[in-house]
């Protein structure tokens, strides 16, 4: 690797990490130090900001709510997307191409457009302010994506495997669970990663569909703005804590990331 490439890469990595470092730095400072002047590292190291979050139920329940509906959404998306992706990768059926494009168009619908109708829809069926409502609403963009990624991975599995299994007397469900799913294991991992990611980062729908019981952490964060000004320290600490689950997930799929980001299409 030559020097010029290295310089570009290092500069980019620094560009990515500096704002995050600044957030981390600030989360360990007291508010007087934050507002008192600029310091490159916390001089009066304090865990007060984190203590505020971990001792106040309305804060940490926000995290639990978010994690709960994100996991629920990932589970639902994978369960319905697996058979559908199999159908798209193996068979040709009436309207398949149109259906596939229609699914993708939902990834393109601006969420701002859907806010009010979603609110009305989920209120009228009595699901407002439940975790399942947010999980279902996030399916709007996660299920199409899951089908798309899984279809790419499944098309990479030779059809002869299916045929051999049927000849050996496997029924479709047995073949699917015992043979096919293990074969595309990494694809499922990557899909789960993407579903988790897009559900975790979404704010608008999650905030609109919840009020108290299922309020996500990203909505709780707006509480730091009060009459006495913004509690910068707690805001920064809450921000740092929202980054952690994502980093944990990426650690698990790090070996599949390169293939996964091609959405199985290379």
């Amino acid at each position: 690797m030559n020097l010029r490439k290295l310089v570009v890469l290092v500069l980019y990595v620094v560009f990515l990490l500096v704002p995050i470092y600044w957030l981390l730095n600030m989360s360990f400072k007291s508010n007087t130090e934050i507002l008192g002047g600029l310091s490159l590292w916390p001089h009066e190291f304090t865990l007060r900001n984190y203590r505020v979050i971990f001792t106040d139920p309305s804060w940490y329940e926000g995290y639990l709510n978010s994690l709960y509906y994100v996991c629920l959404n990932t589970l639902i998306s994978l369960t319905v997307a697996l058979p559908a992706a199999y159908a798209f990768s193996r068979y040709r059926f009436l309207g398949d191409k149109h259906l596939f494009f229609w699914l993708l168009t939902n990834r393109m619908a601006p969420p701002a457009v859907f806010l009010l109708p979603f609110f009305q829809l989920y209120s009228s069926i009595g699901l407002f302010d439940t975790h399942i409502a947010v999980a279902l609403a996030h399916c709007l963009f996660n299920v199409p994506l899951a089908v798309w990624i899984l279809e790419g991975f499944m098309s990479g599995v030779p059809k002869e495997i299916d045929e051999t299994a049927y000849i050996d007397g496997y029924s479709f469900p047995k073949f699917f669970v015992k043979i096919f799913i293990p074969l595309i294991g990494s694809g499922i991992g990557v899909t789960a990663f993407f579903c988790f990611m897009f559900s975790w980062v979404e704010l608008l729908l999650a905030r609109t569909l919840t009020s108290v019981n299922a309020k996500p952490i990203v909505a709780v964060m707006t509480r730091t703005v009060s009459a006495s000004g913004i509690d910068w320290g707690v805001l920064a600490a809450a921000g740092v804590l929202t980054i952690l689950p994502g980093m944990l997930v990426i650690w698990f799929v790090r070996n599949h990331v390169a293939k996964g980001f091609a959405l199985g299409r290379v």
Partner: protein, 288 residues
């Protein structure tokens, strides 16, 4: 792969169809419903036909934010796609450094969008943020909350920070799929590095690049949360993008009719552009 015609496959697709239709078609029909009615409250509503459409097509406020939206998306694509390719070319191919780079690059993608706004809000402030403080110390007067140009640049840099990694990772996975033999042949032919890029790497990246362009176009065209948190749309209306204008109209001023009508126009624009990309993509899949 030649597929078997089998209409029973619909049974496998049915759960997905029902689930997505529930969250997509019902709200969409509600939006259509709004767009042709004048609504005062639950029981008082009048059918107004296409009046709202005629009105929004002449509304200068919407035209302005649509224009800003197009400029923003164009800037995003022009910066992020070449930068993403460049970064992908510099990434190490194997070893511990490769996984380190992959993980670091994926971090911005996994941060909730309002936290991204918060990070840059803090980072850019002149009193407590490293960026704003440094720029002001260097003698540049920088304030994203009052200067239009600064606000634009900050929103753009934030988007580059947030999403270039996606382009880079997509291209990186495209590059990994090129067999070493190609490079060996190029070396024997004494091909320049530009020729290697132009005739080996770029064609192989084509399909992932189309995905990248499509995803970046859709997401930058729908951007809402990050500028909302960072600048609140200001100064003035300088960074109020289309989603924000529509949300303000629908939720803030309760102008449901015009908001719904323009939402549909908005959706159609995204649909049209994405359809062009999608057709191009499936076409290149066929030619592989």
């Amino acid at each position: 792969m030649n597929k078997i015609v089998n209409n029973k496959a619909w049974w496998l697709v049915l759960p997905v169809f029902l689930l997505v239709a529930f969250s997509a078609i019902l709200p969409m029909m509600t939006v259509v419903n709004y767009s042709v009615q004048d609504i005062f409250d639950q029981s008082t509503r009048f059918f107004v036909g296409t009046d709202w459409y005629k009105q929004v097509l002449r509304d200068p406020r919407l035209h302005d934010s649509l224009g800003r939206q197009f400029i923003f998306s164009a800037c995003v694509l022009l910066i992020e796609i070449p930068l993403g390719i460049a970064i992908a070319l510099t990434m190490p191919t194997k070893g511990r450094w490769a996984s380190f780079c992959l993980i670091v690059m994926a971090i911005p993608l996994l941060i909730p969008w309002n936290v991204v706004g918060t990070i840059w809000q803090i980072f850019g402030r002149a009193d407590i943020g490293l960026l704003g403080w440094t720029l002001n110390k260097l003698g540049l007067s920088y304030n994203y909350a009052s200067n239009t140009m600064d606000a634009w640049v900050t929103v753009l840099v934030m988007d580059v920070w947030h999403w270039t990694s996606l382009v880079a990772l997509l291209c990186y996975s495209g590059l990994r799929a090129i067999p070493d033999v190609y490079y060996q042949a190029a070396r024997i032919d004494r091909a320049s590095s530009w020729a290697v890029f132009r005739y080996i790497q770029l064609p192989k990246m084509k399909s992932v690049l189309l995905i990248a362009v499509m995803l970046r176009f859709m997401d930058s065209f729908m951007i809402y949360t990050e500028p909302f948190v960072l600048t609140g749309g200001g100064p003035g209306n300088a960074t109020t993008f289309l989603s924000q204008t529509l949300t303000k109209m629908a939720v803030g001023q309760f102008d449901l009719g015009p908001a719904a009508a323009f939402s549909l126009v908005y959706f159609l624009i995204i649909l049209l552009v994405s359809w062009v990309f999608y057709t191009a993509m499936t076409h290149s899949d066929k030619n592989r």
